[in-house]
Each structure stands twice: as structure tokens, then as C-alpha cells.
């Protein structure tokens, strides 16, 4: 009833091709942005902002990066954490060695460095596909961490290999409160998500999808294989690199190379599998699921044992949390193999017919 596009006529090409052709969608997106930019910083407390929402946005950005590569261009990668590491450590070095550059240009340059690394490790994708490519990108994961740990330049010769992010200052304003850090992260993520959404509707995005669906056919219709695949690697790594820089600057403040292990790459891969492969929204849903659910479970168990006065050993509780988390992943994948984004899509289709399904 509410969600129906009947009566919305499009009289120009521009109207027909806008990102959200349905008016209700546009209102919803604007509302969401208003809530995220205005209401949340006013309402949420420090815990929510710095421990829940900021990491959620950062992981969503990394998942978005991987989704461009894996979901849209069909190239399986296990090097996400490595690209994030490149972003984090290069941002640190740009700010350290070229302080006049400013934070945002440093982040962009860090992203470009990650993109360059992505192109180099994307080269095998020209010859190999699927699981074999995943194995090749594993090399990237190990090589990048090895280089950061062994070459003192990356960490400014810190004896422990830990870098401490400098203060974030843009045009004289210091981002040091959780609110300002959240807003900075949100701003960057929103802009990049918008760019990604548009990119996927452009010629480049369609070329990515053609390569994903059948690369032989794509090359037959004239899509240059090398350019498209490497571009996918570059854009994806750029997103991951910026996410890594944000991880260091607006979230943890200090980073050690061990933060970017294979474990993190897998977590981000799980995010897009659960959220929805080949969907912008799915990256956000998946990141929310993977980063927030363990914390919810933890808090839930804490409260449950307080309210009911249960005397369960904490070791058991901690392990049960992991089991439930694993169980829920399997449950959601069994119920909807196409991810949470697909559930949302189904809900939307049903809403269009509601309340008269026939």
C-alpha cells in the first residue's frame, strides 16, 4: 500500500536512470542518511559510537571493497586484510613523512598504494580462476605482512612493530571525540558507497559483471580481459586500503601488523557471503552480522546470567557464544543462500503487493 510506485511517471532519461527510481526508496535513503549523520551522533553514547558503529562502518567498507572484486567481478580473493594493512601503514607513513599533505589526501594516496599492490597480485587472475586464484591471493596476504614486519621503514623502525596513528586534523579541526571520528568515518564510507553504487551501474560495472558471469563470452563481445580484471583488483584494493587507514586512524589508534591476519580476510569474506555477494547493501548487512552479533551474544549472556542469577562458568559461556554464532551463520545460509540482501529484496517485493498479494 505504502510501498508502490504506481503513479510515478518518468518523463526524462535522467529520471529513468537515477539510482533510486522509486520515490519511497529515495525518501528512505534520505531519512537513513539524516539518521546516520544527525540523529545517531546526538543520541548514541560513546560506547555505541566508538565500539560498535565506527568498526561496523569500517568493516562494511572493507566488505564493500571485497564485494566489488568477488561479488561483481567474480574474482575470489583472500588478500583483503593485506590490502587493509597496506592502507593503514601507508597512511601512517604519508602523514609521518609528508605532514603538509593533510589527512584526506594521505588516505587517498594510501588507497592508491593498496590499489597498486592489488594490481600486482591481481596479475595471476589473468591466467587462473576460482579457488586457484584464492590461493594465489593468499601469497599477497603473507607477503605484505612479512614485508611490514621485516622492513623497518613501514613502522618507522618501531621496535615492537606497532604504529600509533597521528591525530586526525582537517582544516584546523581536530577529530578526537568519538562523535567526530564517527562522522568522519561515516562521511568517507557514504561517499565511497555512493561511488560504488554508481560504478556498478556504469559501463565498467557492467563489464565486471560480464566477466563474472562468463569471461569467454565477455571477451568475445569485446571487453578487454586484462584491463577489466586489473581494474576490479585496483578499485577493490583501494576501498580496502581506505578501510585499513580508517581502522588505524578513527578506530583503534594503534595498529600492529598482526591485526591484519588471514583471519580478518576470512571474516570479511564471510561478511559478503552472509550479507549478499554482488550487492552494496549486502556488504553493510554482512558487516553488521559478523561484527555485531558476537557482541550482542556476549552482552545477552551477561545480562541473562545477571537477571536469572545463573552460575555458569564463564569459560562455558564464552565457548557457547562461539557455537551459537557458528550455528546462526549456518542457519542464515541454509535459509537464504543468497545472503541477507536477498531477504531484503524479497521483503521489498512482498511490500509492493501488500496488502493484496493476489
Amino acid at each position: 500500500m505504502l510501498y508502490r510506485e504506481a503513479g510515478q511517471f518518468k518523463s526524462t532519461y535522467a529520471e529513468d536512470q537515477q539510482i533510486f527510481p522509486i520515490r519511497q526508496d529515495r525518501i528512505a535513503v534520505v531519512l537513513l542518511l539524516v539518521v546516520a549523520f544527525v540523529v545517531v551522533p546526538l543520541v548514541a553514547d560513546q560506547y555505541w559510537l566508538s565500539a560498535i558503529l565506527t568498526p561496523f562502518l569500517i568493516f562494511a567498507l572493507a566488505a564493500l571493497g571485497l564485494n566489488i572484486l568477488t561479488g561483481y567481478a567474480g574474482q575470489l580473493s583472500l588478500g583483503t586484510a593485506a590490502f587493509m594493512a597496506v592502507g593503514a601503514f601507508m597512511a601512517y607513513n604519508f602523514v609521518l613523512r609528508m605532514p603538509w599533505l593533510g589527512i584526506i589526501p594521505s588516505f587517498i594516496l594510501a588507497g592508491i598504494c593498496a590499489a597498486a599492490v592489488g594490481i600486482v597480485f591481481g596479475l595471476p587472475s589473468l591466467r587462473i580462476k576460482g579457488f586457484y586464484l584464492a590461493v594465489a591471493t593468499l601469497a599477497c596476504q603473507f607477503f605484505v605482512l612479512w614485508a611490514i614486519q621485516r622492513i623497518g621503514w613501514f613502522t618507522n623502525n618501531s621496535p615492537s612493530g606497532v604504529i600509533t596513528a597521528q591525530t586526525v586534523e582537517i582544516l584546523g579541526y581536530t577529530f578526537d571525540t568519538p562523535q567526530s571520528k564517527y562522522l568522519l568515518t561515516l562521511g568517507i564510507v557514504a561517499v565511497l558507497a555512493l561511488l560504488a553504487k554508481n560504478l556498478m551501474r556504469s559501463e565498467t560495472g557492467r563489464a565486471f559483471m560480464a566477466v563474472r558471469d562468463m569471461d569467454v563470452a565477455a571477451s568475445v563481445i569485446g571487453i578487454p580481459m586484462m584491463k577489466t580484471k586489473l581494474l576490479a583488483f585496483a578499485i577493490s584494493s583501494f576501498y580496502c586500503g581506505v578501510a585499513g587507514a580508517l581502522y588505524a586512524y578513527t578506530y583503534l589508534g594503534t595498529v600492529e601488523p598482526e591485526a591484519f591476519t588471514l583471519d580478518l580476510s576470512f571474516r570479511i569474506l564471510f561478511m559478503i557471503i552472509i550479507g549478499g555477494v554482488g550487492s552494496i547493501l549486502g556488504s553493510f548487512l554482512g558487516a553488521a552480522f559478523i561484527t555485531l552479533l558476537p557482541i550482542f551474544l556476549n552482552v545477552l549472556f551477561g545480562t541473562a546470567s545477571h537477571t536469572f542469577g545463573l552460575e555458569i562458568s564463564h569459560a562455558i559461556v564464552s565457548n557457547v557464544e562461539l557455537m551459537i554464532f557458528g550455528g546462526l551463520i549456518i542457519f542464515f545460509l541454509a535459509v537464504e543462500p543468497h545472503g541477507l540482501a536477498r531477504l531484503w529484496q524479497i521483503a521489498k517485493e512482498k511490500l509492493r503487493l501488500w496488502p493484496f498479494p493476489h
Binding site: 560513546q46 560506547y47 566508538s50 565500539a51 560498535i52 568498526p55 614486519q149 621496535p159 615492537s160 612493530g161 606497532v162 600509533t164 597521528q166 591525530t167 578526537d176 578506530y251 583503534l252 589508534g253 594503534t254 600492529e256 598482526e258 591485526a259 591476519t261 558476537p294 557482541i295 550482542f296 556476549n298 552482552v299 545477552l300 551477561g302 545480562t303 541473562a304 545477571h306 537477571t307 562458568s313 564463564h314 569459560a315 559461556v317 564464552s318 565457548n319 557464544e321 562461539l322 535459509v335
Partner: protein, 436 residues
């Protein structure tokens, strides 16, 4: 399906809204440790010790001057992101917020340095964490109490010197530093290099990638080097693996010296007989013979409470280390209460004053029933370490035996390095060091 989702969301929201209600006359100490994963023995043992000691004070004395100690567990999984989340969750609980944080992870300590300093909550990284935070002028809220990694390392070299028959005998000796390839593992490389120059021994640093359950190639390298001593700077599963692999390659365990994170029962028992003769450093003496431990057994475990279901872990290395952390924490609360009002909960800022003015001399330790458990401690505004001595233990196949007296660390090497490194940090971050 939809209904389950909504129900789930509601329950979860209730979980966030809930939590412990603030009450007067309570002192909240977060228990952010880890009970799962490869490092769970350390996390649950240490956490169990600190909680058991606080529970004992509540049962025996009714808290500290009538202020009950409260705590809430939060699972950090030894993961920085989760550790920060636990910190943010716990910092405003209780009537005065979190009193003090024990991150029990070098990585989490690093992540909390700036946050805790901004929130005015002291971080006690007892025997781990950022070494140069011992310079309290630059790091007002960070306390690597008792002994930091560098101090401990100089004591280890001294111990090797004693075993070799004098420090001058170290000349020309070969020592291998087998380290866990992480921030924690790399922390002692600079101080070893300095000592190698000073005493004329040859040092080789060999990294073991996390988690360290495969060390064939590293030990092959050690075999080719034929070192006189191997310093094991391991953590978790890396330790028994190193000992077992040493046995297989024929390296004598009597020439292996572990850091204190490599010297618990959990590190040697899995290695079986191979661990016999292995040395490790320690700043706490295990056992249940200490009067403080007896009180824990009497007031906590005898009443069916206590953190361990497995009673054999009571009095283990990690457990007693947690008890030492409990003593340091509660004594600092006592000092702060004496200054800011007896019988009143203190804030994090007052707690910092308490830790900085903490003196545990031999007399006080005797009153606490911990004379043999730990060393005397004197913290100051400038010196956030306060102790600096290490005892060495040897595993005889069944238990850890103390084989040395308190060996003082060499502050003539460590302190200038700490001050230099802290000054560099201050410069990088634009901090003006306090005047102490």
C-alpha cells in the same frame, strides 16, 4: 521467520539496555580477560586469580574499608578489537566507572594507551605491554608494574651470567632469541642488542610466526648455530612446541630460558618429560602455601565459590600471578581511599594517584600474607614500574622450583633506553612530559 528475527532483536536490545545498575559503596573493576581460544589458559588463570582475590576481600573484610569490590567479565578473545569493545563497554559501569583496566594483552594495551589516558582510567599492564610506558612523565595512566620486558631481559642475561660463572664469561657466547612474531615478541630485540654489545655475546633473533605450532625450520637453524643458550619468548601453544622440538633436535632444556609468559604449568605439561630442566623467569611464586592463598581457599573455595572448577589450577603460576595483580590493584585502591576519603568509592583519576603512591614494603607484604608470593614494590610518578627484580624457576617434571633469589634488573641499561623511547613518543604525539 520474521517473528523470530524481531524477537531476537528485542532480546538483544534488552541486553544492551540492561547491565549492572550503579550502586553506592561499590568499586567496579572490569574483568576483561579471555576464556576461549589458544591463549585461554593464561586469560582464565590470570583472570581467575584477580577475581578470587577480590572475592576473598569481600568475604573476609567486606571489601576495602566497607566498599565492596564488584566486577563484570567481558570476553576479549585476546583480540584488539574485542578488547577495545570490552573497554568501552566497561568504562562507565559501577558508581565511579572502571577503576583500572588489566588488558592482559600487549596488543590491547597498545590500543588502550590513548583512549584510557583521555578517559582518565589507569591501565595496569603487569609484566607486559609497552615497555617505555614505565616513564610515567610521558604515560601518566599506563603502569607496566613490577617488571617490564626490558628489565626482565637484563635479569635473564644476569642469570645466564651466573650460570656461566660470571658476566665476563659471556664474552663470545652465542645466544638465540626465539620470539613470537608479534608486538609482544619483538619488544626485547633492542635491549638484547644493547646487552650483546656490552657483554660481548653474539645474539641471533629468530621469529616464530603465530601461533607457533610448527618450529622445525627454526630449530634446524638453531642446530646449525649451536648456541650456548636459547631464550624462549613464546606465548600459548608456541611454548610446549618449542620445548618438544628442542628435545627432538637434541638441544639441552637446561640451556633454555623462558620469559614469564613461557613459564606456566600449561606451557610445560603438554611437553611431557621433554620439559624437565627447563628454566623460566617469574615475578610470582606459585603454590598454595602463601597465607594469602590459604585465605582464598578458606573464604572462597571452601564456600563453594571461586573461579576454577578444576581445583588443580589453584596456586598455579597464572593463578598466583592474577592474585598478585589483585593485591596490587586493591592495595592501590586502599592508598587512594586513604587520601581521598576512606570508605568511599574512588574514580579512575584518584586510582592513578593511588598507584603512583603505592608502596608495598616487606612489612606490608607480610601483613597481606604475600611475603614469599611477590617482591616489594615502590611506584612513583616517574617510575611506573616499581619493582624490577625477577626470580627464576626450573621445571622438574612435576612442579616449578625456585632456583634463584630475586635477581635485580640492570636499570643502568634499561632506564636510559626507556626515557629515550618515551621521549620519542612524546615528540611524535606532541605530549609535554609531566614534571616529576
Amino acid at each position: 521467520m520474521k517473528r523470530t528475527t524481531i524477537a531476537l532483536a528485542l532480546v538483544a536490545a534488552a541486553g544492551f539496555a540492561g547491565g549492572v545498575q550503579a550502586q553506592a559503596k561499590e568499586q567496579f573493576v572490569p574483568a576483561n580477560f579471555y576464556w576461549v581460544g589458544p591463549y585461554a589458559p593464561g586469560g582464565s588463570g590470570f583472570g581467575g586469580g584477580i577475581i578470587d582475590y577480590m572475592a576473598m576481600l569481600n568475604e573476609r573484610d567486606g571489601g576495602i574499608n566497607g566498599v565492596k569490590l564488584t566486577w563484570e567479565k567481558c570476553e576479549t578473545e585476546y583480540n584488539n578489537a574485542r578488547g577495545v569493545e570490552c573497554y568501552e563497554r566497561s568504562k562507565n559501569k559501577g558508581s565511579t566507572g572502571a577503576t583500572v583496566i588489566h588488558p592482559l594483552s600487549t596488543g590491547i594495551t597498545y590500543s588502550l594507551i590513548e583512549k584510557a589516558t583521555a578517559d582518565k582510567i589507569p591501565v595496569i599492564s603487569m609484566g607486559y605491554g609497552r615497555t617505555d610506558a614505565s616513564d610515567g612523565r610521558v604515560f601518566p595512566y599506563i603502569f607496566p608494574l613490577i617488571t617490564n620486558y626490558w628489565s626482565q631481559n637484563t635479569a635473564k642475561i644476569k642469570f645466564i651470567g651466573v650460570k656461566e660463572g660470571g658476566m665476563d664469561k659471556l664474552k663470545g657466547k652465542k645466544i638465540v632469541n626465539l620470539y613470537h612474531d608479534s608486538a609482544y615478541g619483538k619488544e626485547t630485540i633492542p635491549v638484547l642488542d644493547v646487552q650483546a654489545q656490552k657483554y660481548g655475546f653474539q645474539i641471533t633473533h629468530i621469529a616464530v610466526p603465530h601461533p607457533g605450532n610448527e618450529q622445525q625450520s627454526q630449530w634446524l637453524q638453531i642446530r646449525q648455530l649451536r648456541p650456548d643458550w636459547v631464550i624462549l619468548r613464546g606465548w600459548g601453544v608456541m611454548n610446549p612446541t618449542a620445548i618438544k622440538t628442542a628435545a627432538r633436535t637434541g638441544f639441552p632444556r637446561e640451556k633454555m630460558l623462558g620469559v614469564w609468559w613461557s613459564g606456566a604449568e600449561e606451557d610445560v605439561i603438554p611437553a611431557g618429560d621433554a620439559a624437565k630442566g627447563y628454566y623460566a623467569a617469574g615475578f610470582n611464586i606459585p603454590g598454595t602455601h602463601h597465607p594469602a592463598m590459604k585465605d582464598i581457599l578458606k573464604h572462597v573455595y571452601a564456600k563453594g565459590k571461586g573461579e576454577f572448577d578444576d581445583k588443580s589450577r589453584i596456586g598455579s603460576i597464572y593463578h598466583t600471578r592474577g592474585v598478585v595483580a589483585g593485591i596490587v590493584t586493591t592495595e592501590a585502591i586502599r592508598v587512594a581511599q586513604a587520601k581521598f576519603g576512606k570508605g568511599k568509592p574512588i574514580t579512575g583519576e584518584q586510582m592513578r594517584w593511588g598507584i603512583e603512591n603505592l608502596t608495598l614494603d616487606a612489612k606490608r607484604l607480610k601483613e597481606l600474607g604475600a611475603s614469599d608470593l611477590m617482591q616489594p614494590l615502590k611506584v612513583s610518578c616517574k617510575d611506573h614500574e616499581g619493582g624490577g627484580a625477577v626470580k627464576f624457576l626450573q621445571w622438574d617434571g612435576k612442579k616449578w622450583n625456585v632456583v634463584s633469589d630475586w635477581i635485580e634488573s640492570d636499570q643502568s641499561i634499561v632506564r636510559p633506553m626507556i626515557e629515550e623511547s618515551a621521549a620519542q613518543y612524546a615528540k611524535e604525539k606532541g605530549i609535554t612530559p609531566r614534571d616529576c
